[in-house]
């Protein structure tokens, strides 16, 4: 298992070196979006309209943070379950999205897009939300404020601890890992 220190934006050259099971420390800008925001983005793409965030080379983190307590940059901010975004991810990957951060396995369609376009899926530890919030050094809402915790936020992260869960070659840490430890 290799260790990588990466900065966004992610290029295809870097993405193909990432293998399922590798650990990553990610820095740079990451955008947050969940179910509702994804639907809006995909609808805009279908209508040929401009998006409120860039996609090319970018990473989206599936998170709805807890409210920010006084004196902190952000509240607890761990990943939400990724499969709910599976209907939308292929369209975003097709339009330049290179990385996704969440938790839990992605389905076939997403994997096919990842292989075709060169994108990677990282897993963050669900429920380690206070710890993860320490990697986030700046936050601003950039779209869909009406969605509250589900708004699109622009985060600046440093050394966000991740694992490459599913890579651009079809590698899958869930399948491989569970097989290895089943009895």
């Amino acid at each position: 298992m290799a260790e990588h220190t990466l900065t966004v934006p992610l290029t295809k050259d870097i993405i193909v070196t990432l293998k399922a099971g590798d650990t990553v420390r990610l820095s740079g800008v990451v955008y947050t979006a969940r179910d509702a925001a994804h639907k809006r983005l995909v609808d805009l793409i279908a209508e040929g309209k401009e998006l409120p965030i860039p996609l090319e080379g970018q990473v989206i983190y599936y998170v709805g943070p807890a409210p920010t307590p006084p004196g902190k940059v952000i509240g607890s901010a761990g990943p939400t379950t990724s499969y709910r975004m599976d209907p939308y991810a292929p369209t975003l990957i097709e339009h330049g999205l290179r990385g996704m951060i969440g938790k839990g396995e992605r389905t076939g369609q997403v994997v096919e897009s990842m292989k075709k376009h060169g994108a990677v899926y990282f897993a963050a530890t669900g429920g380690a939300a206070a710890l993860i919030s320490k990697s986030i050094h700046a936050v601003e809402i950039v779209a869909y404020e009406d969605l509250g915790a589900e708004a699109i936020r622009r985060l600046e992260v440093k050394d966000f601890p991740l694992i490459v869960a599913q890579d651009s070659h079809g590698g899958n840490v869930y399948r491989e890992g569970q097989k290895a430890y089943a009895r």
Binding site: G21, G64, S76, G127, A128, Y181
Partner: protein
């Protein structure tokens, strides 16, 4: 008759809502520490290390363990000699949730209409399971329940002929197919018997038992032990990354059933097995 003020109920629930989100109970904390020692998979061990570090940060800084601070589910046993004064019981409960989720900077995750949405803005209404019991105490469990684990829960109206083997198959398959989605290592609550809705209630109630406790009936103690082994043999592991610790515990709760029915329910709790208790 013993009077309990509605305001006291509100205050207690507000406090418990916050505490449950910042601090794991001792049995859960110890179980996670033991899991870290026991886990053989390096990826799984790293997940557990992060979970333990997170627990410390959350407790020390009074931040939520998980950003999903959950639906507010309450199990209440009200003594029949209790007289609630100064307000309605249900209003007092919701006021407590509102206060806890506001003062505690907890996430508001409740939509008013299940189809049309509309965040209620204060994480109410609470979901209350109430029993009236002898005595003059008011016992309250506050159980913040996140969506991820809840979404992996299952219920089956089995045939009586499916029997114990059917239960084992259903529970094991539910855990296997859930994979990493409920944030393992999980606590598995199994309900057997009752009616359709009572069975689901049993499965959730089973989550409240301390980790390390066993069923009072040796027949079901054995089932719990075997289910824990079967579930851990799926190899799902922490966060589904593969490992030997998929579940911290399996608890079974049972109830009498109809001669023709065999309901079995599985309610999963993530590793942030959050609940706090008070007796007023």
């Amino acid at each position: 008759m013993r009077e309990i003020k509605a305001s006291a109920i509100t205050e207690a629930i507000a406090r418990l809502s916050m505490e449950a989100n910042y601090e794991l109970e001792d049995d859960v904390q110890k179980s996670l520490e033991a899991a870290y020692e026991r886990e053989e998979s390096p990826a799984g061990k790293e997940v557990l290390r992060q979970i333990l570090e997170n627990s410390k940060i959350a407790r020390t800084e009074r931040m939520p363990i998980c950003q999903d601070t959950g639906l507010a589910i309450l199990f209440v046993e009200m003594g029949q000699d209790v007289h609630v004064v100064g307000g309605d019981f249900e209003t007092a409960v919701d006021a407590g949730v509102r206060k806890g989720y506001t003062d505690g900077y907890l996430r508001k995750s409740v939509l008013a209409d299940p189809v049309r949405g509309g965040n209620t803005g204060d994480n109410t209404p609470a979901i209350v399971h109430l029993r009236i019991v002898p005595g003059d105490k008011l016992a309250i469990y506050v159980v913040p329940k996140g969506g991820g684990s809840e979404n992996m829960s299952k219920i089956a109206m089995m045939k009586p002929a499916d029997g114990l083997e059917g239960v084992k198959r259903f529970v094991t398959e539910s855990v296997r197919t859930a994979s990493g989605n409920p944030c393992p290592p999980i606590v598995v609550g199994v309900g057997i018997g009752g009616s359709f809705e009572r069975c689901a209630y049993l499965a959730k109630k089973a989550l409240l038992r301390p980790i390390g406790s066993v069923h009072a009936d040796p027949f079901y103690t054995d089932l719990e032990k075997e289910l824990l082994m079967l579930v851990n043999d799926t190899g799902v592991g922490p966060m589904g990354l593969g490992g030997r610790v998929t579940a911290l515990a399996v608890h079974v709760e049972t109830a009498p059933r109809h001669i023709a029915s065999f309901p079995v329910a599985v309610n999963m709790n993530c590793h942030a097995a959050r609940h706090k208790y008070v007796e007023l």
